[in-house]
Symmetry: C2
Subunit: 307 residues, 2 copies
């Protein structure tokens, strides 16, 4: 099946691109691992104009149902593992083994939580290890949990977890937190939260479920262990671009470089929008606007191909 | 009163910019003639992600109330007539005689309906002359009306009016319509609508209210008149920039040239977003995204000023 446009990603950029492409009557396929995006982790969204205070999940559900009311050409729950350039098209391979072809491709895969890369982490995902506090915090009622990281998202996660957990340990490798003063102030007055600085995580331990975290103290060099049932990793995100295998130019941080005028990448026929790009601000409404722009630019590109 | 940022415009770009600026704790003033934007003329909006089928007016009302819930620093119902550069700020004068000062200015004034520029037009606005079909069509139940123009918006206006009016006359100066085939087809099968091509409007006539339209036939040169109670002018739009008096670089069409990366204009301290800019597509969600970008760019600019 040869599509005009294959959109990869189900966040605000991908969904908005899908709405625009379908309304332009492009033969469009949207491939989405899920319909979340980073926003779904936000308990309350106050800057999506018109819907003050909506939850990130509710906002994404509204967007998903909008897209689905316009098209059924959606491949959900699968993940793109490779994009290959052909003569006049691109071949897209998915994890489930599907092969799809598009005259143009729109990458809106957003960002992925960074992994710690320590033993036990991968094995215990969903068994105590989590990258999404808003999704998983309620499972840790009256339990001890660790939060790894020292930025805004880590401190926000700790505050969220304190509503459920009996104790929350923040473990951070730096000498000082790197979060907003205001969040640091809230952390200080929350008695359930304890902060441990200069700790490098060595391993997450447990048989079938998380039982403890092991870390080395940067100052003493001693190895220590703390018993917890949950580990929430919040050490930042990276753009989700591995499947492109160097097909487009990326900046130092791995973000796809785009022409901000029309969201074209260095590879003719590939467009990109949203948090996966090198745009200066990672914001929901900006990602949505970029999705629309990229779809309209792809439409113009496809029209030129025909003529 | 010296503001950090004065936002001019109450459409999707201005409102979104306002939401972002206020949340960034900038001392912000939003000056809005109204809270409409071009979208308010759209009966049904299908491409604002998450709100399939919402009316343009309802969408703008949601956005307006979002902004108003965050700030009361809004000057509504007034219009900026001049912006003047001072040493470290801009002086903004309004029609009602207010003078305001901002360290930075964000222009989101959108576009204005083109005027015909014929006698009677200005005098009879609101007395039969209208630039907004969706606002005014219901007042012309069982009446005869003229639509001036031959593009998509003119034909759409004629179709809307045919639901109310007894007869709709489309008067267009061109030899053929310039609207989508699909709209032209709908016009043909609507018996209430009659099309007159190659007619140049000379005047709109009437004492206190519209009574007729006078036009010259391009072919015969004859002057003719048609009795109508309403005249709906749909001959396109121009960017609303007159008040800037050459302070920023504009393209041939009068649109403000922006750096698409951060919505900066050629004038340091002035940012622009939405349909008033030279961005390639005039779309609601793109305007909203640009409003956010411009506000965040203004925030960075102001931070640098301080340091």
């Amino acid at each position: 099946m040869l599509y005009d446009l294959v959109i990869i990603g189900g966040g605000p950029a991908g969904i908005t691109a899908g709405i625009y492409a379908v309304r332009k009557k492009l033969k469009t396929l949207v491939i989405a691992k899920d319909f979340f995006g980073q926003i779904a982790k936000t308990r309350q969204v106050d800057n999506w104009p018109g819907d003050l205070g909506i939850s990130g999940i509710d906002l994404m559900k509204k967007m998903e149902s909008h897209l689905k009311s316009l098209t059924s050409e959606i491949l959900a729950g699968d993940k793109v593992v490779n994009v290959e350039k052909r003569k006049n098209s691109f071949l897209i391979k998915t994890q489930a083994g599907q092969e799809l072809e598009g005259k143009a491709v729109l990458v809106a895969t957003g960002r992925t939580e960074k992994k710690l890369g320590v033993p036990g982490e991968q094995e215990l995902v969903g068994r105590g290890v989590s990258y999404c506090t808003i999704c998983d915090a309620p499972f840790f009622q009256d339990k001890r949990v660790a939060v790894i990281g020292g930025g805004n998202s880590a401190l926000g996660a700790a505050l969220d977890l304190a509503k459920y957990a009996s104790e929350v340990f923040i473990l951070f490798k730096g000498q000082t937190m790197v979060a907003d003063e205001c969040l640091q102030g809230l952390i200080k007055v929350q008695p359930k939260i304890k902060v441990f600085l200069q700790k490098n995580i060595i391993a997450i331990d447990g048989q079938g479920k998380v039982e403890s975290v092991s870390y080395q103290d940067n100052v003493s060099g001693n190895e220590e262990q703390i018993a917890v049932e949950g580990v929430f990793i919040n050490i930042g995100t990276v753009p989700t671009v591995d499947f492109l295998a160097g097909l487009v130019r990326q900046n130092e941080g791995g973000e796809i470089e785009i022409n901000p005028k029309n969201n074209a990448t260095s590879q003719e026929g590939i467009f990109a929008a949203g948090d996966v790009t090198d745009s200066s601000w990672k914001q929901f409404v900006i990602a949505a606007g970029e999705g629309a722009k990229a779809a309209l630019a792809a439409y113009n590109y496809l029209n030129k191909l025909e003529n």
